[in-house]
């Protein structure tokens, strides 16, 4: 992955003859946001160890600016109506993966009947990871809590048993090991947002960093 910092100004960086990296040639440009490269892999990026908790302990909770907190156990969650979607995903570290297939519960289903004046959500995961986004970007068929990838149970290293899936934003917003949503009237930056990543993160406007 591309990691650089504080490069001394020594003129243009020399090109490494014949180096292309992992990028796939001939991708469909219209589907690839600016600055992204299509990959066939599924890179694993993480800020901490992969959690391994028994499913009996799992729960998903909606709390915060709601009339009534809601919570589902794993069995209850799996009993909810689910759908399978095919979406493109875009990571801020510049890789994109097209036509990924996920199965999960739409956030619309989870929020069905929830009364709230909240405009924002803070997503939280096992291990303490958080990310924030407008509530509107989770609704209207734009967000899911996904538990299957490519027809198989979601692997722990990719966020299993369940992760958030919000493909229209950079993939750091699709929190792995998701456990809850806090609905909020005021916005507050999550983990990476607090370190200078963009508060919203639209790949089509290349909103990688604060100020973009």
């Amino acid at each position: 992955m591309n990691e650089e910092g504080g490069a001394q100004a020594q003129g243009p960086t020399p090109v490494s003859r014949g180096f292309r990296g992992r990028r796939r040639a001939g991708s469909d440009a219209a589907r690839v946001p600016p600055g992204q490269y299509v990959t066939d892999d599924f890179p694993v990026l993480s800020a901490g160890p992969t959690p391994h908790h028994p499913l009996e302990w799992w729960s998903f909770t909606i709390l915060g600016a709601v009339d009534e907190q809601r919570s589902w156990s794993w069995d209850e969650f799996r009993g909810l109506p689910s759908e399978t979607v095919t979406v493109d995903i875009h990571c801020v570290t510049k890789w994109s993966k097209l036509d990924t297939v996920w199965t999960g519960v739409s956030v619309d289903t989870l929020l069905d009947g929830v009364e709230t004046s909240a405009e924002y959500a803070m997503v939280s995961s096992d291990g303490g990871y958080t990310t924030n986004l407008p509530l509107e970007d989770l609704r209207g068929g734009k967000g899911w809590v996904a538990y299957e990838y490519d027809g198989e149970p979601l692997e722990p290293e990719h966020g299993g048993p369940a992760r958030l899936l919000v493909p229209h934003l950079y993939f750091w917003k699709s929190a792995k090991w998701v456990r809850g949503l806090e609905l909020r009237e005021e916005d507050e930056p999550g983990f990476w947002e607090g370190y200078g990543y963009h508060n919203y993160g639209d790949p089509w406007r290349e909103q990688r960093y604060a100020g973009d």
Partner: protein, 88 residues
């Protein structure tokens, strides 16, 4: 934890940021008080930023984020960081 590395993996990045070799610096975890050399902390490299965690308790020690060629280092997870070279 098998995909995690250690502080050796960020030795170059740390030297660039601090202007000196830092893997022999001694850090104390603000969460559990464990002391260790930066070479020995748990490092996750594959992320929008680099994250270093306490080997004993897993708490965040350092986060390094490089944005537009500037690297910012968050050291709030360290109660102290002493760059004196290690004595053997």
């Amino acid at each position: 934890m098998t995909d995690a590395l250690d502080g050796n993996a960020i030795a170059g990045q740390l030297e660039e940021v601090f202007g000196r070799e830092m893997t022999t610096a001694r850090g104390v975890c603000a969460s559990c008080g464990a002391a260790s050399l930066l070479a020995e902390v748990v490092v996750y490299l594959r992320a929008p930023g680099t994250v270093a965690r306490c080997r004993r308790c897993g708490a965040l020690l350092m986060v390094l984020v490089t944005i537009r060629e500037t690297t910012c280092v968050d050291l709030r997870g360290l109660a102290s960081l002493d760059p004196r070279p290690m004595e053997v």
